[in-house]
């Protein structure tokens, strides 16, 4: 039942924040802080106490994909919801879920803190929307019933739409509607794919259910599986976003208020990666394998295109938005490489990107509150005005470009090593993207903070609240850079489990670049990858080099 609290606490705190905010705006802010901190604390407790128990249940898991899925959960809740349609209220959490929930609540808290000064209009409703977004996100990461997943997936669009449309910047209405329609169209296509999957499964077994664990391993023609996989891919690729479906992102991220940008970049777009890991690949491993080349091409284009576009922006917020396109290209690379290293890298990348990009958005938001512009042409030499701000911005720019010693470097390095085993050229081109990242990150610092201060700006440096926020994020990124093991351990069951689910498919090949070769050799190679899947990070690096 503890899982239910993760959704309920923010969901119930939301109307409370609204009611209190009508008379005393400060109370709405504090309610929102409480509504995100409380689940964060409970979650941290669960993470610490249950992590070891997870190892035990995972070792004692039953045979087959369903047993595998059932054995990997720390906790689950299941109740009939709409019985006649085979829909259940099925929540479950494993290591990956815990990581995603940590991100959700931590960034939800940061989003509240980041809007402490900037939001003065309709404060109560604003925090209602933030908390509902957080509740919806928690629901997305906890759902194992595909209908429930879709339900939360769509539901959280509404508060996010309002956040952008009401509290956003100049072109907010355009950006909000574009965001809404892009995600909704792709979501509906996924819904059709989900329903088709359920119908196929129902025809085969006589059981109509949206339960993901039962739908795993549904037999269907390869062409059908491919089409259904595309339905899922479309939805998640829009969220991620993958080139060429990314065009909503620069608009939405730029026009959203700071809190909206933080939640969008930090958590919302991670649903794309999460959905691919959790649902798309395990459900259609062979189809994913067939699609791999296309996806890798899209990912590489996204990495380089995002970086080049970021370099070309004069709006600082838009620049940061485009870096997300680039970084999420790495995630797409890693997901489709589908080996232990790449998957560990993907999970690490999700966390590190959320922190570094979230911090940059808060930084831009803080700057905008002070000087009322995001145009880097009107900045320059700000380091002299606000040295603490400059130093902090430099740190996150370095994190974004993948400086060794910080989490982002470890994540992107792991992904590239994993991708190298699948496709040399994709890894090489992806690595080129890292060079571009250096260019745009340093160029941003140069234009905004370095050089002569010629515009006569004078404003307050970081406040204590901001120092606290950025300090926590810096500490987390440094920690992840030097000691990523706790995170990797938490995600290990998920990574191993995911690979075992797909062990019987063509995706389990260690070197699928040889897919033109004979199938027998590929089949023989499959168990080898299984074995490596169970080893830890350090073992992997040793074993596979």
């Amino acid at each position: 039942m503890i899982l239910l609290w993760y959704i309920l606490i923010p969901a119930v705190a939301a109307p409370v924040a609204w009611l209190l905010g009508r008379s005393r705006p400060a109370l709405a802010r504090w309610t929102a802080v409480a509504g995100t901190t409380a689940p964060l604390v409970i979650l941290a407790g669960q993470w610490i106490t249950k992590a070891s128990a997870l190892q035990a249940t995972f070792a004692a898991r039953g045979p087959g994909p369903a047993g595998l899925v059932a054995g990997s959960w720390i906790a689950d809740v299941k109740a009939t919801w709409i019985g006649s349609l085979g829909i259940s209220f099925f929540l479950a959490a494993d290591g990956l879920t815990i990581i995603m929930l940590l991100l959700t609540f931590a960034l939800g808290l940061l989003a509240v803190l980041a809007s402490w000064r900037g939001i003065t209009k309709n404060v109560g409703v604003f925090h209602l929307m933030i908390l509902w977004t957080v509740a919806g996100l928690a629901g997305v990461f906890l759902s194992l019933d595909l209908f429930l997943f879709y339900f939360f997936f769509e539901m959280m669009l509404i508060p996010m739409y309002f956040l952008i449309a009401v509290w956003g910047h100049e072109k907010r209405v355009y950006a909000a509607i574009k965001f809404f329609i892009f995600t909704q169209v792709s979501g509906l296509l996924m819904l059709v794919a989900i329903v088709a999957l359920v119908v196929i499964h129902g025809r085969e077994t006589g059981v109509y259910t949206f339960d993901f664990t039962q739908l795993l391993g549904t037999q269907m023609a390869a062409s059908t599986a491919f089409i259904l996989m595309l339905g899922f891919f479309f939805a998640f690729a829009v969220k991620l976003p993958a080139w060429p479906l990314h065009t909503w992102l620069p608009d939405a991220h730029t026009e959203a208020p700071t809190a909206g940008s933080v939640l969008l970049a930090g958590v919302l777009i991670k649903i794309g990666a999460y959905g691919m890991l959790r649902f798309m690949v395990p459900l259609f491993p062979d189809a994913v394998h067939d699609f791999r080349t296309v996806a890798l091409v899209l990912a590489v284009i996204g990495i380089i295109y995002g970086a080049v576009m970021a370099y070309g922006q004069s709006d600082m917020k838009r620049l940061v938005a485009y870096t997300s396109v680039s970084h999420m290209g790495f995630v797409l690379l890693g997901v489709f490489a589908w080996n232990t290293l790449a998957l560990q890298g993907v999970i690490l990348q999700l966390v590190c990107h959320a922190l570094s990009t979230g911090a940059l958005f808060i930084m831009v938001g803080g700057l905008q509150d002070r000087i009322h512009t995001r145009d880097m042409g009107r900045m320059g030499g700000l380091w002299q005005v606000a040295p603490r701000m400059g130093g902090t911005a430099m740190f996150f720019a370095m994190a974004s470009l993948g400086l060794p010693g910080l989490g982002n470097f470890v994540a992107e390095f792991l992904i590239l090593v994993g991708v190298w085993q699948v496709s040399h050229w994709a890894a090489v081109l992806g690595a080129v993207g890292l060079v571009f990242a250096t260019v745009y990150a340093l160029w941003m610092m140069q234009r905004a903070f370095q050089g002569e201060e010629t515009h006569g700006w004078s404003f307050a440096d970081l406040t204590k609240r901001e120092v606290g926020m950025f300090g926590a994020m810096i500490a987390a990124l440094v920690l992840l850079g030097f000691w990523p093991q706790p995170l990797i351990t938490t995600a290990r069951q998920t990574v191993t489990g995911l690979q075992e689910m797909t062990a019987a498919s063509s995706l389990a090949q260690p070197r699928p670049t040889a897919e033109a070769g004979d199938p027998a050799a590929e089949a023989a190679a499959a168990p080898a990858d299984d074995a490596s899947g169970a080893t830890s990070l350090a073992d992997d690096e040793g074993a596979q080099q």
Partner: protein, 489 residues
């Protein structure tokens, strides 16, 4: 017919007596409150008799009507919808400077027509019900006679409805002349047998009947009247036309032409599929360019009837459940949306301009919230019944492998998002002062009007939309029970 059958058809009797009572009272004592009270009382009695009728075994009472669970379910739906429209009309009529009592008589006779339609198992009761409904609607649409647009709408509706009624009767005559049957079961058998090349006359007859039905449902290509009538008719009457009139005819369509869905290559099936696709595409595309809220909702309702046709064309009981549930969702949503327009309207004109809704979120937060929930439900967003409704239709369509229709449904409803969100933006993002000086423009006048009873109805509808949007199981079971009495193949 036995004496006990009177109990079985007691809902129809109660519904027939109510307008008579209201009319007689109005003849002796003109009182708006009394008329509304009697109307609601009569509708409550009708609703109560549904349970009396349900406790008796369903049977065909004379060849004309069947009081099975299906008929009772829809009579209940029509009764409740009529009661809500009546309450919403109360303050609206008060502002209209017309004698209000006869309005309720017309509303009740129209509902009687609708109830006859959903229970009809014979061409005679079908035609009778349809005409009672139509004739009442002509008068209802033109009720504010001093408004030119209402007169225009009523004339348009009268001429077109008259023409299509002629088609309908001629179609019935052709079917009877060739096949010698007038009953729903007979027509269903004809359709199920497959209309071969020998049965050209029957096919032509059924197609002509479909023209009459299609006109009432306002599906493309019989939709031309919809935007004008929606715009010209008084807002509560528009709500009535959009829900009760269409819902009753759709329920009838399901009863008479159920077997169409079993053969996906038949001409009839393909024709209806084309109508469904055209309605979904045209409805959503044409709504994009409208600036009048009632016209937007008119085109949106064309699209929604297209979605309902997808459920109709999907085979099996699951499809019947989808259609029934979607109808309930559509009723509640449409009543809520037009209810907001009704409450905001003044005696001079209806609140149908986009500018009337500028900053509504700040001026009338409750009404804005109701309208937002209704719009999200129309758009099919989660937490509302519209979402579950669309979902069950997609499930039914997928279950019958109607992939093309399902994909069209999904893509066109995405187009629909644009004009629904546009309205929401107008309510919540635009400030009233952007348009006009405070207190001077129509928006301010609109804000001053409004009835408390209407707001209560709207709040109840919103709660209904949200509760059954989150937990639809009880309603799904009820609909399942209702449609299970149809002769599914």
């Amino acid at each position: 017919m036995k004496a006990g059958d009177l109990l079985t058809i007691s809902p129809l009797i109660a519904l027939t007596l109510t307008p008579v009572v209201v009319m007689l009272f109005a003849a002796f004592r003109r009182s708006h409150g009394l008329a509304l009270g009697l109307t609601l009382g009569g509708l409550a009695v009708t609703f109560g008799t549904l349970f009396v009728s349900a406790s008796r075994t369903a049977r065909v009472v004379t060849p004309l009507v069947t009081m099975d669970a299906y008929a009772l379910f829809f009579i209940g739906l029509l009764t409740v919808a009529t009661a809500l429209v009546a309450v919403l009309s109360w303050s609206y009529l008060g502002r209209l400077r017309v004698r209000p009592e006869e309005y309720y008589v017309l509303l009740l006779t129209a509902t009687l027509g609708g109830a006859a339609l959903v229970a009809a198992t014979h061409f005679a009761s079908f035609f009778l019900g349809l005409e009672i409904l139509s004739v009442s609607l002509y008068a209802l649409i033109v009720y504010p006679v001093h408004r030119a647009d209402a007169v225009e709408a009523a004339v348009k509706y009268l001429v077109l409805a008259g023409a299509t009624s002629a088609f309908l009767v001629f179609g019935m005559a052709l079917v009877y002349a060739e096949a010698g049957t007038m009953s729903a079961a007979g027509v269903a058998k004809l359709v199920a047998g497959g209309l071969g090349s020998q049965q050209v006359v029957v096919t032509v007859g059924i197609v002509m009947i479909l023209v009459g039905v299609g006109f009432k449902l306002a599906v493309v290509p019989f939709h031309m009247w919809t935007p004008d009538v929606y715009e010209g008719a008084p807002a509560p009457v528009t709500a009535y036309v959009a829900t009760v009139s269409k819902g009753a005819v759709f329920a009838l369509l399901l009863r008479f032409l159920l077997p169409v869905s079993s053969d996906q290559s038949s001409t009839l099936f393909l024709a209806l599929a084309a109508v469904a696709v055209a309605s979904m595409v045209a409805g959503n595309l044409l709504a994009l360019r409208q600036d009048n809220v009632k016209r937007i909702l008119a085109y949106s309702s064309i699209a929604h009837l297209g979605y309902l046709l997808v459920a109709f064309l999907a085979s099996g009981e699951r499809a019947g459940v989808a259609a029934g549930f979607y109808l309930v969702a559509y009723f509640a949503t449409t009543l809520a949306a037009f209810g907001v327009i009704t409450v905001l309207s003044t005696g001079d004109r209806d609140a149908d301009q986009l500018s009337d809704y500028r900053g509504l979120g700040a001026r009338r937060p409750v009404l804005a919230a109701v309208f937002a929930v209704a719009l999200f439900s129309l758009a099919g967003m989660p937490l509302t019944m519209g979402f579950i409704g669309k979902f069950v239709i997609v499930t039914a369509g997928a279950g019958s492998a109607l992939w093309a229709l399902v994909i069209v449904l999904v893509l066109t409803s995405a187009i629909g998002l644009y004009y629904y969100t546009r309205l929401i933006v107008v309510m919540y993002v635009r400030r009233p002062e952007e348009l006009e000086l405070a207190g001077a423009g129509p928006a301010a006048r609109v804000a001053a009007a409004g009835g408390a009873a209407g707001v209560v109805v709207l709040a109840a509808l919103t709660a209904f939309l949200l509760v059954f949007g989150v937990y639809p199981s009880p309603l799904l079971r009820l609909v399942e029970h209702a449609v299970s009495t149809l002769p599914w193949p």
